[in-house]
């Protein structure tokens, strides 16, 4: 089998990884913010429920969650995940929920690290709470969470390989099928795809950090 063919197959697999990565970010970033507000709620019930949920999701293996989303609805309710690619859908659901919980903790840390004085300054200057959040607090939060977020993004692209346990044909699974036929090198060669992707993200996050470097709290 030629290098070109194998390379093409691996690239096709990697597209699955990137697709899962993109969908996860698209939904988990906003969902995480909602969870963060829930875990900071003044209403005890909401706060308690949110924190318990985050505890369960962060406290159990992502692999287990993948199995749960993939098989529990079918076993328990006889309900099938719709769509023409139910495996990817199931993986996306598990990843979105899992990462939203991690993101929520990053958001919470970022929001809580803003000194109370910033809100008080907004108040005595006659700004509404909404104005204070969007005009004063938000950019400072963004600046604070860029480094931990960059970590999560890196972890995420590599975690997407886990989706193969429920049958998503990602790059590792593709490489594995070559190994089964006695061609070992593609498995190790996949590292290059992840390395390039992470390198790209390092550059992008570096730019963002530099762009926000003009102020310090």
């Amino acid at each position: 089998m030629s290098f070109g063919v194998i390379n093409g197959e691996l690239l096709k697999g990697f597209f699955e990884n990137v697709e899962l990565f993109t969908i996860t970010l698209l939904f988990a970033l906003p969902l995480g913010l909602i969870i963060a507000f829930g875990s900071m709620s003044k209403v005890t019930v909401i706060r308690g429920a949110t924190k318990s949920f985050v505890w369960v999701i962060r406290g159990t293996p992502l692999m287990l969650q993948l199995f749960a989303v993939m098989y529990v609805p079918g076993f328990v309710f006889g309900w099938q995940i719709p769509g023409d690619n139910p495996r990817m859908t199931a993986a996306a659901i598990a990843f979105v929920i899992n990462y939203a919980c991690y993101f929520s903790e990053i958001y919470r840390g970022g929001i809580e690290s803003i000194p109370k004085g910033q809100y008080e300054a907004g108040q005595v200057l006659g700004m509404t709470k909404t104005q204070t959040f969007f005009k004063v607090v938000l950019l400072q939060v963004v600046k604070n969470i860029v480094p931990p977020m960059s970590n999560e993004f890196m972890t995420l692209i590599k975690d997407t390989a886990l989706a193969r346990v429920i049958g998503v044909v990602d790059i590792i699974m593709t490489a594995g099928s070559f190994s089964a036929r006695g061609i070992i090198w593609p498995l190790f060669y996949t590292a290059l795809f992840f390395l390039v992707f992470c390198g790209l993200m390092t550059v992008i996050f570096g730019r963002i950090e530099k762009k926000l470097d003009y102020f310090h709290s």
């Binding site: 000194p115 004085g117 910033q118 008080e120 300054a121 907004g122 108040q123 005595v124 200057l125 006659g126 700004m127 509404t128 104005q131 005009k135 004063v136 950019l139 400072q140 600046k143 003009y214 102020f215 310090h216 709290s217």
Partner: protein, 261 residues
């Protein structure tokens, strides 16, 4: 008539009574200093008047306008509250400048947001913004910061940052300007520049209330001094009398302690 009237303010945190019926008033154009040891309630009093805390009971009137009255059953809307509170400005001990805005941006942010509520805003936006910026530039020049308008707070010294925060509070044209220990976060050699600015403001007839534990500062800049101890006003009077001729034992003890330092 007094421009500021504070009547019988009480405030407790849990079981701790921090303010036990504090009343005072202030005439327009005068400078009042509130002194007292930490825990005497002076910062809580200032925070209650600035609505950073809500007093349990009492009444606060600025220029005849009731800002707070625990006996009143009338409910103010959030907007009414915000509008009324703007008759009071506050300069924080820790400056609390907005780090992501430059000096000019810090001073103009709140006035620009407020301008959006004006009915003619859409029509005259450019003009209104220009006016706000010109006014801010004037204030910053007055604070000796004309060459710093495009610097960010992190590029300024503590004294410069505090002067920006004074300009920021002044930009909303408060009737009374409050200072919460304006020099406590500064190196001793920088307190002079803040003192100078406050003295200059006093000359323009700005009504000011300053919480401080710098006695020289209080003596030099203020007309009246209120001495707080254990949640009550223990002694009050003309600045010189209070510092040079204290009547109560508590004030004598406090002044001795401060002078020993």
């Amino acid at each position: 008539m007094a421009i500021l009237e504070v009547k019988n303010i009480n405030k407790s945190f849990g079981k701790t009574e921090v303010l036990k019926g504090v009343s005072f008033s202030l005439e327009e154009g005068q400078v009042l200093s509130i002194i007292g040891s930490s825990g005497s309630g002076k910062t809580t009093l200032l925070r209650c008047i600035n609505f950073l805390e809500t007093a349990d009971s009492g009444k606060i009137t600025v220029d005849g306008d009731v800002l707070f009255d625990s006996d009143s059953t009338e409910k103010m809307t959030a907007k009414q509250k915000r509008d009324k509170q703007l008759s009071i400005g506050l300069v924080f001990q820790q400056f609390n400048l907005f780090p992501q805005y430059d000096v000019l941006g810090n001073v103009t942010l709140a006035p620009k947001l407020r301008a959006k509520e004006r009915p003619d805003f859409k029509k005259n936006k450019a003009e209104i913004y220009k006016e706000i910026e010109e006014k801010a530039m004037k204030l910053l020049a007055q604070m000796g910061l004309a060459d710093k308008v495009h610097n960010y707070p992190c590029q300024l010294s503590g004294g410069q940052q505090q002067r920006v925060s004074i300009a920021r509070a002044m930009a909303l044209e408060p009737k009374i300007l409050f200072f919460d220990e304006p020099t406590s976060a500064l190196d001793p050699e920088l307190t002079g520049e803040i003192l100078k600015v406050i003295r200059e403001l006093a000359e323009t007839n700005m009504t000011m209330v300053i919480v401080t534990h710098e006695m020289n500062f209080a003596k030099e800049v203020s007309d009246y001094i209120v001495f707080m101890d254990q949640g009550v006003i223990a002694e009050e009077g003309k600045a010189e009398d209070i510092i040079l001729n204290p009547q109560t034992e508590r004030l004598k003890a406090f002044l001795n302690k401060v002078n020993d330092k």
